[in-house]
Amino acid sequence: MLLEERLEQLKACIRRVSPAEALARTDAGAVLIDVREYEEIAQGLPPCAQAVTRGYLEMRISDLAPDHDQEILLMCAATTRSLLAADDLHKMHYTNVAAVEGGFDQWKAEGLPYVIPALSDPDSQTRYLRQIALPELGPQGQQKLSNARVLVVGAGGLGCPAALYLAAAGVGTLGLVDHDKVDRSNLHRQVLHRDDRVGLGKTDSARLTLEALNPSIEIKTHAVHLSAANVESIFANYDLVVDGSDNFPTRYLVNDACIKLGLPNVYGAVQGMEGQVSVFAPGGQPCYRCLFAEPPPPELAPSCSQAGVLGVVPGLIGLLQALETIKLITGIGQSLVGRLLLFDGRTCRLREVQPRANSDCAYCASGQAFPGYIDYVGFCQHREESEGVDQD
């Protein structure tokens, strides 16, 4: 049978809707699926459409339309692939499937809304090809990454691997806060820096590496010591914060500012061969203060320089933070909100526990007015006096 004959057969049994009708149907709950290839999507995509290439349609359809009676509208460039795709979905017992007559060409001709995805330039089409091919991500996910503004606090053991992979993944605006300079003792774990940059500001060094890796994104650097006085003016320009700091005062400050500004806080911390990861959601519980109401006395909280750290451990934890960040931006999977992951490098064991949401938390409890920033250094030093360890 010739293709033309096949299409005539399909037209006789598959419902077709105009682009304008398709747009109206999506408002009423129909799922519009654009089955064109990535290079075609680069010419434009209806904002209400899910981009799933023809080759992945059968594999993705149960995610997009768990209910077999869900109305599904299929669109290609004209009306050929959409009819063939509709036929496949009929065979999978989807009962309410239609093809968009004239496809995206007609959609565009009628002046209906569309966006140019981030991967419209040849560099992006190639650069992100392998991750766009992931059905869960696709061009829409890449667009979300491109639009995202992520701030990484600390260009150290956690911030370096996190920023490296977020830049590689195409996070459109990536900020880094760090007031420190590169030291040779950093290089075993802080993989954005290099031996010939010892003495250079960490944010400057990070910028060089990240721009060399991905010149298509914007790197913003904040070579300052994060404080209650500057935290809001810096955080206000971002959608999400990755906490890769290396001290308790900054961690409590990051927590409080994220709550105040309604930003997700992707938490990671390491010591020795162990690490912790979680996500503190904006407007929800628990937060970092629910998990750890107070810092330990300083003598029980050695820094990496005092306690030692195997570079791979913050590498792994920083990458988990990058993963959680990408998931939050794109909506993929289940985030670590309400869950704390504990990694032990000695055994390579990963445990998951449920942190408590403290209903009395002064910062994140429901209906709680923001109590204000505090003297964070004093707060962390004070513990030495009130919570000192028995030395007997």
Binding site: A269, V270, R356, N358, E387
Partner: protein
């Protein structure tokens, strides 16, 4: 038998053991048992007044004991008691 899982920082005070097996019907009893064997470890978990230190979390079956009965949380044979202190390294 209760399995107390210690973080690296406390293993140094417990003859390098990561898992200490103790008897106890409650978290407090299990910690008392741990303290008799490794007194310095206990000072890192409880205050002088016998309260759980604010920077330490204890999890039984993945749940924070502060969410329930705290140190009076009941334990059953085979339970794992996870000690998770706050760390800040990065």
């Amino acid at each position: 038998m209760i399995h107390i899982e210690l973080p690296g920082v406390l293993q140094e005070l417990a003859d390098q053991q990561s898992n200490v097996e103790v008897e106890g019907r409650t978290v407090r009893e299990a910690l008392d048992s741990l303290g008799r064997r490794h007194p310095m470890v206990l000072t890192r978990i409880l205050t002088r007044g016998g309260q759980l230190r604010p920077h330490v979390n204890l999890f039984v079956g993945g749940r924070d004991i502060r969410q329930g009965l705290g140190l009076d949380t009941q334990l059953t044979d085979g339970d794992e008691l996870l000690v998770v202190p706050s760390v800040a390294g990065g």
